[in-house]
Subunit: 611 residues, 2 copies
């Protein structure tokens, strides 16, 4: 089982650690130190060895930061964690601050005196972040000092070792394009951009281009490493050699030089000394690498990671694998929903017991299909009743709530299989739903259908499409406070850039991209609703009777949507037609994989809506 349901603990001798850090800062003549929740690879998940923020402050949330000054310290958390931080952190040690509304560099601005020296670890802050801190320090006459050693590491006696998961090859028949060909394509991009090389600092970019996967961090099957693409030479992969079998090393060596991570700085210095132009993404590249290049007189060409867009545009083989993964995952979800239908209203199940059951069905489906479940793609959001209204709810032993009749249960979960990554949310009525619940659910469904059926011209942005998912809610004075869709990788990150369907989605979805379609509605203290399928952007195609080619979406997630929650009178004939056709497809596709009670449930749950 992959999820840890332990309640957040508060066992650490935080005050002593703070004293020790301040002493350490004092020895090096620093008046402060910045502690981000980040490792040196800047991914969504970090290994235990990089949990410096949790070790220092006690706060174990998935995002945040701290700043320690000589006589005060703050911990920065977002709206998800305002309660948790007060449970886990003594405010006498760290003042809780708003990570979004009053971010660390702005907080620091008000605290600085001239000649202060504030330290940071240049592996843990990106170039863009460092620039923000440098600007406020410069304005105050203070200095933002890159440290060669992290002062926390000097006092964190029992710091875990960095992960050393074995690197796996992602076979060509799942990747759909050889690594050699991907490297060649990217070299053409570098030539087009007029750069000699590009730093790849994002682990999923590296996993994609070399067709490798790993298990260094939870949920995201990447290999923590760096890479250097070169326009006219072989790329170099900087990775701990102990992660590579001899066979894999030999295979990788055919297309790349393999070096230890410590050689990365050496090679960057050499590139700089040779006067090379190097493409660097300031938003994702640790400041250390950018500064190493410029210190050596290299030219920084700032731009987005060049791998991000090619990786987001999936090829036919990746899409076929993902569809296969969704059929397998849909069968598991349907077995789960059938089980929940039989057991959910007995008063015996809880958020954790149900989430564990779902993992079990997924694991069994993987075994049955000879494509094992390797990981869940993120911590399952298992929210009963009012917990469903907490958008980023992560159940733990101390919050675990029983499923009760007359409530809604929301479950957002996903799987990592070798052939694809899934992400699905279903909301299920436990017992009889109220008419308000049915009204809200149906409006969310209308938004979901509007996006699923949308046709749109090339160049339409995610922000423009986002409106379709909200319109039915807006008309009723309702809305939801999260994006409608994010990109999804293929046996990679479940949150993949660069395109998203949200108010801030300024990029257009392109043919082959996998996105989520997940509008919702949340009534604080009462219930939460979300309906999420993954969708693939279909290529521009003519429409009968039309005069322009339009892109559209293919829904690839397959599992029944709870008909008990649909108010048919609120649907247009077109919407009802979509719902019935989707359910028919779910039934036809999944029936061969199911039997017994699950098959009976599937057939019943996918019947046409009664008008």
């Amino acid at each position: 089982m992959f999820q840890n349901f332990d309640a957040p603990s508060r066992a650490h001798p935080i005050t002593e650690r703070l004293v020790a850090l301040r002493a350490q800062l004092g020895r090096t003549g620093l008046q402060g130190f910045v502690v981000p929740h980040a490792d040196e690879y800047q991914g969504e998940y970090i290994p235990a060895s990089a949990e410096r923020l949790a070790w220092l402050t006690g706060f174990t949330g998935s995002a945040g930061a701290a700043i320690v000054l000589t006589d005060e310290a703050a911990v920065f958390v977002d709206g998800r964690y305002t309660l948790q931080v007060r449970d886990q952190v003594d405010v006498a040690d760290f003042t809780p601050e708003d990570l979004i509304g009053h971010p660390p560099h702005q907080w620091l601005k008000a605290k600085l005196s001239a000649d202060d020296r504030i330290g940071y670890d240049p592996r843990l802050l990106t170039l863009a972040e460092v620039r923000r801190f440098e600007a406020v320090c410069q304005a105050a006459g203070a200095e933002f000092v890159a440290l060669s050693e992290n002062p926390i590491d000097a006092i964190w006696a029992d710091r875990p070792l960095p992960p050393l998961s074995q690197v796996m090859q992602q076979p060509d028949d799942l990747a759909g394009e050889t690594s050699v060909e991907k490297i060649r394509r990217m070299q053409a991009v570098l030539a087009e951009k007029g750069v000699d090389a590009a730093i790849l600092a994002q682990s999923d970019s590296i996993a994609w281009i070399f067709n490798i996967r790993g298990a260094d961090v939870p949920h995201n099957p990447v290999v923590l490493s760096y890479a250097l693409l070169r326009r006219d030479e072989r790329p170099t992969l900087y990775v701990d050699g102990r992660k590579l079998s001899n066979v894999l090393r030999d295979a990788l060596s055919e297309r790349a030089d393999i070096k230890e991570e410590r050689d990365f700085l050496v090679d960057l210095t050499k590139l700089g000394a040779d006067g090379r132009r190097v493409l660097v993404d300031p938003q994702t590249t640790p400041a250390l690498f950018a500064r190493t290049l410029t210190d050596a007189k290299g030219t920084l060409v700032e731009g987005g990671d060049p791998v991000v867009l090619p990786k987001a545009r999936k090829n036919a083989v990746e899409l076929e694998g993902t569809r296969r993964a969704h059929r397998r995952d849909g069968a598991a979800m349907t077995r789960f929903l059938a089980w929940l239908d039989a057991n959910g209203d007995q008063g015996t199940e809880t958020e954790i017991s149900v989430a564990r059951k779902l993992e079990q069905f997924r694991a069994e489906a993987g075994v049955a299909d000879d494509m094992p479940l390797l990981e869940i793609s993120f911590d399952t959001i298992s929210g009963a009743g009012p917990d469903g209204a907490i958008v980023h709810y992560r159940v733990n032993e101390s919050t675990d709530r029983k499923l009760e009749t007359g409530t809604l249960y929301l479950v957002d979960s996903g799987a990592q299989y070798r052939d694809g990554t899934t992400d699905i949310t279903r909301t299920i009525a436990i017992g009889q739903p109220t008419s308000e619940m049915r009204d809200r659910f149906t409006r969310v469904l209308k938004g979901h259908i509007a996006l699923a059926t949308a046709r749109f011209p090339k160049g339409t942005t995610g922000a423009q499409l986002d409106t379709l998912a909200r319109h039915a809610l807006w008309q009723a004075g309702l809305d939801f406070d999260h994006g409608t869709g994010h990109g999804v990788g293929v046996f990679l990150s479940v949150h993949e850039g660069p395109v998203r369907i949200s108010k801030a989605g300024h990029l257009p979805p392109e043919s082959g991209m996998i996105l989520s379609n997940e509008p919702g509605y949340y009534k604080t203290g009462a219930y939460g609703i979300r309906i999420e399928n993954l969708i693939v952007v279909t290529p521009p195609a003519p429409i009968e009777g039309g005069d322009r080619e339009m892109l559209g979406f293919e829904t690839i997630t397959l599992a029944p949507i709870d008909r008990n929650l649909i108010e048919v009178a609120l649907l247009t004939p077109t919407e009802k037609g979509w719902m019935d056709a989707y359910h028919a497809r779910v039934r036809e596709t999944l029936a061969p994989s199911l039997d017994g009670a699950a098959l009976r449930f599937l057939i019943d749950a996918t019947q046409p809506l009664e008008a």
Copy 2:
């Protein structure tokens, strides 16, 4: 009558003018000169005295530019004018180029040699434009030289005098806020932005803050002038004194210093010498003013014109005036539509005759209402049959087309009254429309209704709302290639910033803004459809049963929409309900102002749709 329907002529001795300009450039040691279609006030319309581009090239379109080099010259026009430019300009003199796809600075880039000196008139190019030219010149080792005299003016012997229209006071009971109060509000904005002063270079900003109007240019009732706002002192209005009556001068002098335009440079130099921080909009301010400030060591604070947003948010008095103007204009439109209904299919009317008739009904309505029509708010777009498919069509004597039965007629027009500005488009079936026309019209109508009825949270952008107007078209493989809506002033510009409903509309509509709602569909060579009403953004308000306040729109344009073009089966019950309620409101509001055939037409044209 306000519109000039003369065919574009080609009577100018262009080659001689080009020779004379090159000789003039030679005398001053220049290898080239840039001629924009702009005056020194950077508005949408320019006076005859500023038509240097037309004088030099023969091209009379409403946008464009030219660059004259020693041995070649180019004229830049957008897609509207690719045919017209070849009729009006000899390509042996000027090569036609694409203003959007290959703009002047990029074209120049490929032509430059080191040490070239390219001249420009720094009153006619904005700071942002000059920077683009400077960048390409610098890259080529050439120089972009600001000239103190425009070399065209030196050779344009019969150049018209600049306009000297009388300035009118816009009374407080129409403006809804005294100029004194507006100045005070804007001074608070300057204080907030930490600047000492702001340049107002846009004539409609000046008209708004001083509550004045004029007639210096067509259609847009502004006074060509400049102004300087000062945080701690009275503002200065720089305007030709001959435009002011003694009474108005006295009134204006109570709230501002009045100076001649030539004093503007003197005062800017003084501000600079005093080390002042001055807010300048680089997109709308002639480079001369910005450079005068910086040459004198003043500090340029770049930002948007501070008046633009306050001006766009209309107060209750302005909205009431605008609603009154729309009732008056709606009565004129209805008389016109009744007349067209009786005469349009007789084979006797043409695009020009019909447009003239519409002006006549507007003029009569103004007289009847004691609020005369002062101007049309833009050149009427009067498009019969295939001409309706040309989005920016302006009829002239050489293109004038008869209205024929079995076609569509599109008319986009507006009025300037003292109490408000109107802008309305109606598409009318002349005889029996085809079922394709009805299908397309109904899809456009569905988009129009979706926007008219939209409720949306504060902060929703114009780009997000734009989707609603296109969705029904997209689903059928159709779209239109213009924005859905633009801002509209109150007895000011019919195209007013900063908010628009379009793919590029990154700003959110705010309470009190007046916008257009004008989706369309265009079938090249066949017909054009557009349905345009003006809408006002309503304040955030709760919705029965909802949990969030939502903004919305009030439709203020009142005139029948052609029911013969509506395919009722394509409308949802909600859409049909909106259409019938709109028509009932049109009938109730306009009936008291109409009689005879027009009243009978109104009653007939506003009957509920038959399902």
